[in-house]
């Protein structure tokens, strides 16, 4: 197991080669990833603002973690499938979920607003750790279909303590299923530091199951891309599961309800600021002469546009028809749900009449 985290792009923006993870990446793709990170970041800002004005119930900022998210998103093939947490707007964006689509959920209109089939992303689960098993099961399905798809299972450092994540790794190893576990170690599970979950690097967990455990610089989009792609390919070729620990930092609060000043020092941020994934990629693009201020201004303009679009579609959105809540509890009619629907409908009518 690598002691130090794999890095393909230094904080100063220079490329480093790694023997195990060779990477060829076009300038076009570099620019796309820059744009993806910038847009993800803007979405964070917009969503936080919308939450502050009561348009959203909650938002879980991704700030600081976009590097590995965008890299991993780009590592996936269209047929691959991802299982994520609530803090993965980078991957959602890369896989084609529109910002205002995703925000339906945080507005409280729906429990899931995207079509899992279309974007190849499962519903995210708020009950920490549980989706790791869904990912493995999905991968077991791939094995039975005989296709060469692979699955990416994303979760946080806190999640690694849960029984479900363990069982997921046990099953994946037992059946040698095509799944890569991507742990975003952002140093915190709400207010609890990662040391409470593990006294040794999280990547070391992989040894328990006989699979590779690789630490990467989570703020390096290229490391995220290269290592995730290599391990997904290994998995799809029958090499079995693997674990990536992406070392990063949650620069924002846990959610818009959180107050990090209660449990961590402002002074921590400076260190991570220097490792910022967006700035790093910007430096790289400038260094290799593949982007200029015109490009950056265009991205900025695109972000502005996104912001406007999001605000426009979310602000003052009407609430859904109350009777919709009775839909889709079951795939086939269920007597008790239908009785409740009828009863509630009659009640709403009485209520309107008496009003």
């Amino acid at each position: 197991m690598a002691e130090t985290a794999i890095q393909l792009l230094t904080p100063e923006g220079t490329r480093v080669e790694h023997p195990d993870y060779p990477l060829e990446v076009s300038a076009e793709q570099l620019r796309t990833m820059y744009r993806d990170i910038a847009i993800t970041r803007r979405m964070d800002v917009e969503s936080t603002a919308l939450q502050r004005t009561g348009e959203l119930s909650l938002w879980c900022p991704t700030l600081g973690q976009e590097g590995v998210q965008v890299g991993a998103g780009h590592a996936m093939r269209p047929g691959d499938y991802g299982f994520t947490t609530y803090r993965e707007s980078g991957i959602f964006h890369v896989r084609g979920v529109e910002a205002d689509e995703l925000l339906q959920l945080y507005r409280g209109n729906t429990h899931s607003s995207w079509d899992p089939q279309r974007v190849g992303l499962g519903l995210f689960t708020i009950v920490i750790g549980s989706h790791a098993l869904h990912a493995v099961g999905y991968a077991m399905g791939i094995q039975r279909d005989g296709t060469d798809d692979a699955v990416l299972a994303c979760f946080g450092d806190g999640a690694t303590s849960t029984g479900d994540v363990h069982e997921a790794m046990v099953f994946a190893a037992a059946f040698s299923s095509p799944v890569v576990f991507l742990v975003q170690n952002n140093q915190w599970a709400i207010s609890v530091p990662v040391e409470r979950q593990s006294r040794v690097p999280i990547a070391q967990r992989a040894l328990a199951y006989g699979m590779p455990g690789i630490r990467i610089d989570g703020n390096d989009v290229l490391a995220g891309l290269a290592v995730t792609r290599t391990l997904l390919d290994r998995a799809r070729e029958g090499g079995g599961p693997a674990l990536i620990e992406a070392i990063t930092y949650r620069m924002g609060p846990h959610t818009t309800s959180d107050d990090p000043t209660r449990y961590r020092d402002e002074s921590d941020y400076a260190h991570w600021d220097e490792l910022d994934p967006l700035e790093r990629l910007r430096r790289h693009l400038l260094l290799i002469g593949e982007a200029d201020e015109v490009f950056f201004a265009a991205v900025e303009a695109e972000c502005e546009e996104l912001g406007e679009k999001v605000r426009g579609s979310i602000r003052g959105m009407p609430d859904p028809d109350p009777m919709l809540m009775f839909d889709a509890v079951y795939a086939e009619p269920h007597r008790d749900v239908e009785a409740d629907r009828a009863q509630m409908g009659a009640y709403f009518t009485r209520l309107q009449e008496s009003a």
């Binding site: 429990h111 519903l123 689960t125 999905y138 077991m140 889709a328």
Partner: protein, 325 residues
């Protein structure tokens, strides 16, 4: 028509479901070469292979959680939980993920899955092997709950459960595993499993039961008959949804109702039956609905179970009770 035990009927039903649909697969502990501790899956791995009959690692949350993923990929997993008392490590996956997935996805992702659970007491087993946890699941929106009362029912309803696009918790009354019945294993499967069925018609008292207690109630009804009391017996069969219409019709005639199950009475299925029957048959009831079931204790050591479990005498006593009013 073939004479079969319930174990054989379930085995035949599983086999037919697997033949009919290549997406059906079985997963659980010891269901492969061993054929399950009750032999319900006997011979299936040999015939359908290890990819369709999967001996899992020892982890119930893992079994159910990976089945969620398999269902998302288009499979129809049929899971075996070895005994009632071992379903709880999977409770989170069942209640939080399986039950809600169709709703959460706004109908985009169905969750066809059957979780087979041998349940109930009466076989002299050690701890955690005799429980009746059905009320937990029937209280959970998004799940369906079925339980067969005999081999013929088992053969049909296990296939219907597998064919359903909703997740079904399928409770198998283990003390009836070895009861034999004539099973029609030739005709196409028909009928609506999500209904209750009147298995005996009577005029004085309506007995309501499901799973293992259907036979007990039929025996009690026969004994009562000798004493000149005519009892109907309704087998609920489906615990979610509940179909109490046949019960209401019957109680409106008899005016008396006794609900019987093994689970603790408090907040057991009988509570819902009693509440609804009291509501729907308010003017017809001549006596309060009586509930016969487990006392409010953990399942006791097995030397106590013949006293703990409802039996013919307890049902007869309750019949006396409702007739005394």
């Amino acid at each position: 028509m073939t004479g079969m035990t319930m174990v054989q009927a379930l085995n035949a039903g599983l086999r037919r479901a697997m033949e009919n649909d290549p997406k059906v697969l079985l997963m659980g502990e010891d269901i492969g070469p061993l054929g399950g501790v009750f032999r319900v899956t006997d011979g299936l791995q040999k015939d359908f292979g290890e990819l369709r009959v999967v001996d899992s690692p020892l982890a119930e949350s893992g079994i159910v959680g990976t089945a969620v993923g398999l269902a998302m990929r288009g499979y129809r997993p049929v899971l075996e939980i070895q005994f009632d008392g071992f379903v709880f490590p999977a409770f989170d996956q069942i209640v939080t993920m399986v039950a809600k997935h169709h709703y959460r996805s706004e109908g985009r992702t169905p969750m066809p899955m059957v979780i087979r659970i041998p349940y109930g007491g009466g076989i002299g087993a050690v701890e955690h092997h005799s429980e009746s946890p059905e009320a937990y699941f029937a209280h959970t929106p998004g799940l369906r709950v079925l339980t067969p009362a005999d081999a013929a029912e088992a053969y049909v309803t296990i296939q219907q459960a597998i064919a359903s696009d909703d997740p079904v918790i399928y409770f198998e009354p283990k003390r009836r595993y070895w009861d034999r019945a004539e099973v029609d294993d030739v005709s196409p499967i028909t009928g609506d499993p999500w209904t209750s069925r009147v298995v005996r018609a009577g005029t004085d008292v309506t007995l309501v039961a499901y799973g293992p207690m259907v036979r007990t109630c039929l025996e009690a009804a026969a004994a009562a008959n000798d004493d000149g009391v005519s009892c109907s017996v309704v087998d609920l069969r489906s615990l979610s949804p509940l179909d109490l219409n046949p019960v209401y019709v019957d109680v409106r005639r008899t005016g008396r109702c006794v609900v019987v199950h093994e689970a603790p009475v408090t907040l057991g299925i009988g509570a819902e039956v009693a509440a609804r029957v009291s509501q729907e048959c308010f003017f017809a009831l001549e006596a309060p609905v009586a509930r016969v079931g487990g006392a409010f204790l953990p399942y006791p050591p097995n030397r106590f179970e013949k006293h703990y479990l409802p039996d013919v005498d307890r049902v007869l006593d309750a019949i006396d009770g409702v007739l005394a009013l």
